[in-house]
Symmetry: C2
Subunit: 180 residues, 2 copies
Amino acid sequence: MSTLTPDETILGLIAIQTSHGYELIEAFRDVSALGEIWKMSTSQIYAVLKRLERQGLITGRIEESETAPNRTEYCLTATGKRRLDDWLYDPQPSASIRRVRVEFLSRLYIARQLNIPTIPIVLRQRATCETERDRLRDLLEHQPPGMGYLAHELVLAQLEAVLRWIARCELVPKDIEDIT
Amino acid sequence: MSTLTPDETILGLIAIQTSHGYELIEAFRDVSALGEIWKMSTSQIYAVLKRLERQGLITGRIEESETAPNRTEYCLTATGKRRLDDWLYDPQPSASIRRVRVEFLSRLYIARQLNIPTIPIVLRQRATCETERDRLRDLLEHQPPGMGYLAHELVLAQLEAVLRWIARCELVPKDIEDIT
DNA sequence: ATGCCCCTATTCTATCATGGAATAGGTAAA
DNA sequence: TTTACCTATTCCATGATAGAATAGGGGCAT
């Protein structure tokens, strides 16, 4: 899995409450929710919903309405619940900078909304970032100067910034809990 | 332009020396060149070449060979040269973290190979990152806590890391020149 | 009332990106 | 001799993505 998909995050939102596409779109627009984290187009959300349903992670049923267009309400299947848990409790979350920003924050948001403790998520994220930082430090010691060196230096600097940022999150866990 | 395309970088490589697809693939594989910066598949390079030719930025001519498969050598057109210059001298390079890592380093690499002074490129990149940093600082002062706040805090921390890294690049400009 | 735009809710379409395999002849090692 | 890799490119199927299309209802200003 190398691309950054909103699949699990959407799974999480549906776990919080069964939703139809338009509701999810609004969650991704809402700046106090996921608005600053993901930028997603309308059709992408419906595409993800189709995929999740095809994979048997969610099921939809059509809600008829006379005053408004019909909508399809989706809720998690047992498989979907398991997939979501696997994601939330992933013991080795990616240390990629983008993924930390997007996936880790999404995990935090979803976990909070589901009343799942966020501290373990933070600790695991810190652990993988520390491992990756150490790996990069080693790598830099043996790498000859050049573009690759500069690139790795930058990634290392960013990982260190991530770790300082995570440390601040840890110091004030209450704040994380109180967010949202 | 929101996606991160290798188009201009490939334009740059062709400006350094006329090349065919396979040669470019090797430049992107070579760790001492762009290997650590871009990850690209074979077919993507040929797709980019097709696009650049369709846009009139490069022209290809087939080199026949009996000992090896035919190849198509590409070289820049006048328009292509102008497009490359616009990119190299872009007065407002993106301050997005990914783009700094990928685009800025590519600019640096191409400029060096073309014997164009790299210092102005570095200074312009620093300037836009500083502007963006200031914007984020302002934004954070007025933003209520929440996921958006955390997200912006992280981006700010990463921008600051980028700026420290750029400062190191500036302090030892000779090193940048000597790289590659 | 009339026209117009916005809101809800979703689908459609066309283009682009992507990875992976297919092709195909040559060469070097085992 | 088989195996496997190097050069060089194309093909294909799937997937992502943006943007428009659809469609009925409500509000607001002229």
